[in-house]
């Protein structure tokens, strides 16, 4: 019986020329078994204990037909990219997971034996020091989901703050930017900044500046996956998500296969947002005029209800119907009516609803759009590519609660 067959296999597989001759007599140990006393302070360096797989809590079980959908475990693929952690240990890597609603999610974690996971430290898994494989179900709970374009390529750039253990499971100590008087802070030495994402197949090089040196970021093809892990003490937390990495700090330049770059060589001021190269819009084949539909805007108490029939069917999370609304005078800002966030059959009735803000009165004007959800499920922030389905105007301030306006879509 062999206790560690994997160690034997590694030793036997060592190339013959890899074992240098070491001459000289082995020096006798200073002490023999007296080391037992010191072993308590000894840190293991070359073994990784495997713990149980971690799953998100049951109440975070997503619906396969709404939002991001459900991560399809069989689609999970750990990319060949490996990035060392500044403090050592298993390398970092990325895993791509497809969801039931067509999103491509990028999962970040430590990689051991080709599996993506977290380490039992920084308040994870009772700090057991073991490696725990991460369930793909965490993929849709993080910031890393992108809607593939019409050519099937996903573009996403994430700049997040976290810890050396990895992200996903709930931890017992506080990470960067978290606050809770009842919990201690995780070790500051374990603070990490993660810059990762997918720049697509058209990018040939991505460079970043670290310690005054500009160096290329290894890219995993064909997705153009990249990952940078920095040991940076952070006060703030959270993640910034976009479709392409921001140039400035730490990224310096994106170079494309056609020889162009962003920013172009010699450009003044390098801070800028680069459009994803090779991006094929999902709306490219649609004729805007043919998508116009009449809208019905009604008030039910302080609730605005906008309804129409879907000019285009939606069968994944890449598209959604949403609306924006604003008041003439009392509330100048634009309000976002939550998007459909689910599959919709072509011609089926669609209803968008929003609670009107208190103290906002007068005429409400709004626009309903079909939008591309470039980075993940629809959020009521709007922006990005869209086609107008119709406009509505609704007078608020009457006593009647079900007065309706009908307006053509234009």
């Amino acid at each position: 019986v062999t206790y560690l067959p994997q160690l034997k296999d590694q030793l036997v597989a060592t190339p013959l020329e890899r074992a240098p001759r070491r001459s000289g007599r082995v020096v006798a140990a200073a002490v023999a078994i007296g080391l037992a006393a010191a072993a308590g302070a000894l840190a293991a360096t070359g073994v990784i204990e495997i713990g149980t797989k971690v799953e998100p809590p049951g109440h975070l079980r997503p619906n396969p037909n709404t939002g991001s959908g459900v991560a399809e475990g069989t689609s999970a693929r750990v990319l060949p990219l490996r990035v060392p952690d500044p403090a050592g240990g298993p390398p970092w890597g990325l895993q791509l997971v497809t969801t039931s609603r067509g999103l491509t999610c990028v999962q970040l974690g430590r990689v051991v034996d080709g599996k993506l996971g977290v380490l039992g430290q920084d308040g994870i898994a009772n700090n057991d020091g073991r490696f725990h494989e991460l369930s793909t179900r965490f993929a849709t709970l993080g910031p890393g989901c992108a809607a593939p374009d019409a050519a099937g390529n996903a573009f996403i750039a994430i700049d997040s703050r976290g810890l050396a253990s990895g992200e996903g499971p709930r931890r017992s100590c506080l990470g960067p930017g978290e606050s809770d008087p009842g919990r201690e802070r995780c070790p500051v030495a374990d603070h990490r900044r993660f810059l990762y994402g997918l720049v697509g197949p058209e990018v040939s090089e991505l460079t970043y500046r670290h310690r005054r040196r500009v160096r290329p970021v290894p890219l995993s093809e064909p997705e153009g996956a990249y990952l940078v892990v920095l040991a940076e003490r952070q006060r703030g937390g959270g993640a910034a998500v976009g479709r392409s990495p921001s140039m400035g700090h730490p990224f310096v330049r994106l170079t494309y296969r056609d020889g162009t770059s962003c920013p172009p060589p010699g450009a003044k001021g390098t801070a800028r947002q680069c459009d994803p190269s090779g991006y094929r819009s999902l709306l490219a084949g649609l004729e805007p005029e043919s998508l116009r539909r009449p809208l019905r805007a009604a008030l039910s108490g302080r609730r605005l209800v906008v309804s129409f029939r879907a000019p285009v069917g939606i069968d994944d999370a890449r598209l959604s119907y949403g609306a924006t609304a604003h008041f003439d005078r009392s509330c100048p800002q634009i309000y976002f009516v939550p998007s459909t966030n689910r599959d919709v059959r072509r011609g089926a009735p669609v209803t968008l609803e929003m609670e009107l803000p208190p103290r906002c009165h007068g005429t409400i004007r709004g626009v309903v759009r079909l939008s591309v959800n470039a980075t993940g499920p629809p959020v009521p922030m709007g922006g990005g590519e869209s086609i107008t389905i119709g406009r509505f105007v609704r007078r608020d301030g009457t006593k009647r609660s079900t007065q309706q306006d009908y307006l053509g879509g234009n």
Partner: protein
């Protein structure tokens, strides 16, 4: 060709430079003993596995320099294990230089493997150390057992043995020296 099982440890070491399968056979023969020895010293399965890995890596690197006239392959392996143990204790971390030079990856150890190693340590580790101590003079064995295995202070041991602390220190020191000679085959 002779089956590996019919070949002595010393010949396996001689052949390991040309045929890694010979080293695999040597590994299988001595893994249990080294895990038990290093487990007895550290009382931790993960450390025992880590130290065993570095010990075998260092043995693989050094097999061409093995000289059977200076001792058995087993004693040579245990000598390496003690050096790895001593160097690791000095640094506060398990040495990994040989594995790095050989390009070996960290060994992933599953819970059932750790359980098996822990059982080995529990069942055989103490017995192994007791075996070694049996060959020592009783006063030295008692001093070593109290100081090293039970991690008690010199003053406490001296009070119990009704002798001076200096004498306890001397017995521990002599016991360790005798053990080392016994295990490495060094002449007195």
């Amino acid at each position: 060709m002779e089956p590996w099982s019919a070949i002595s440890d010393e010949d396996l070491l001689q052949q390991a430079g040309k045929d890694r399968a010979a080293f695999g056979e040597l590994y299988e023969r001595h893994e249990r003993a080294l895990l038990g020895f290093l487990g007895a010293a550290t009382r931790r399965a993960d450390l025992a596995a880590d130290l065993t890995a570095e010990t075998f890596a260092r043995a693989l690197e050094g097999c061409a320099g093995f000289d059977s006239e200076r001792g058995s392959a087993r004693m040579w392996l245990f000598g390496i294990a003690r050096n790895v143990l001593a160097g690791s204790a000095r640094r506060g971390r398990v040495e990994s230089e040989a594995r790095r030079r050989l390009g070996l990856k960290a060994v992933t150890v599953h819970p059932d493997q750790l359980d098996a190693i822990e059982t080995l340590i529990a069942c055989e580790g103490d017995a192994l150390v007791e075996d070694w101590l049996e060959d020592l003079p009783s006063d030295e064995a008692a001093a070593l057992r109290a100081r090293i295995l039970d991690e008690r202070g010199y003053a406490e041991i001296a009070a119990e043995m009704r002798c001076s602390e200096a004498l306890v220190r001397k017995r521990v020191s002599r016991g360790l020296l005798r053990l080392r000679r016994q295990l490495t085959g060094e002449s007195t």
